[in-house]
Subunit: 207 residues, 2 copies
């Protein structure tokens, strides 16, 4: 039931592995358990399926962003500040971010699909940068800004702190996307990065 949704899932699955142009509508149909022409009862073209995926993922993202205020437009609760205040707290935060992005099926597939299709239109390029970089940086800037204000970390440029915190995580993530068998090794690096980061920005610490 709900074939329309199943089509999107199957298509995302295939697009994320092979790219839009290398997927046949017949493949999508087969994955759903119907024949190719039947797809056209639900979507008017292959492109239309692709666009629907984008719209759906945008919607999800914006919903998430609104509740988590991940788009950087909102303050943190005291509980959140507290949990990010310690080295272990930041490790936990980094890991959960990393793990979610890496293992959540939709998130990973959508990221891979956008990676492949990002140069196809400027809109996709912007979406990519917004979702995976700019918004994350804004959100984390907010956190670091608070941590500095409260004297928990030193530093006067939260934006750069966010860049330095986030980009290694993101890089390790994309490496796992390409070579999943390296996950263990790369997770170890992730932890070392975060611990080092905290020590660097801790007051009076000498590494």
């Amino acid at each position: 039931m709900n074939t329309k949704k199943k089509i999107l899932d199957a298509a995302l699955d295939l697009f994320s592995e092979k790219g839009y142009a290398n997927v046949f509508v017949a493949e999508i149909a087969e994955a759903v358990g119907i024949k190719a022409p039947s797809l056209y009862k639900h979507y008017k073209s292959k492109r239309d399926i692709f666009n629907a995926i984008i719209e759906e993922m945008k919607k999800n993202y914006n919903r998430q962003a609104a509740t988590l205020s991940i788009d950087g437009n909102n303050a943190m609760s005291d509980a959140e500040v507290f949990s990010a205040a310690s080295e272990d707290g930041l490790v936990k935060m980094g890991f959960s971010l990393f793990s979610f992005f890496l293992h959540d099926g939709y998130t990973q597939k959508f990221r891979k699909m956008l990676t492949i299709e990002q140069f196809h239109t400027p809109e996709l390029a912007e979406l990519f940068t917004k979702q995976y970089i700019d918004d994350s940086l804004k959100y984390q800037s907010g956190i670091f800004s608070l941590l500095c204000e409260r004297g928990i970390l030193k530093g006067n440029n939260p934006q750069i702190m966010a860049l330095q915190f986030h980009s290694p995580i993101y890089m390790l993530l994309t490496m796992c996307d390409r070579e999943p068998e390296r996950e263990k090794e790369l997770t170890a690096l992730l932890e070392q990065h975060i611990r080092q980061f905290v020590r660097l920005y801790s007051k009076g610490d000498h590494l």
Copy 2:
């Protein structure tokens, strides 16, 4: 003259913008100034052109890597150590790396092409990670290792230092690939990142 080479150039140009599957052989031919069937006097198929690009770029890369010992297997000269020792030295090094990768035509096009095609085969995924991440990290680890040994920087984990130095640079690079109009803004961030990085790893510095 040397149509064979011109074909590779034109193909790389197109593949890097639209991806392999979205480029017609007729387009490549037109860019070269010949008709599609004439291409087959030089390469036996479209795929063959793609493979030739990969081989050519691999060769170039290995040549470069050998002379620069960028693959991390070689020591630095004293002059290089010296030039990397100061804040301005590292800024310069980061900028020249960034600028080369961003503006060198072949380098940028090849990176974009690999980005699009990376999930097509495991070989391409490995090539991507090797060229743009692992080798850079090894190389920079070597540098930071030296700088630490000589007491110029503090820190005991050159690999993580390299990760923290390199990944923001790489992230800003990919952002410029997607949205070239942001180059100025992103270059400013690059400089701030490097200066901050040096201060963090400087002995007895208080940000």
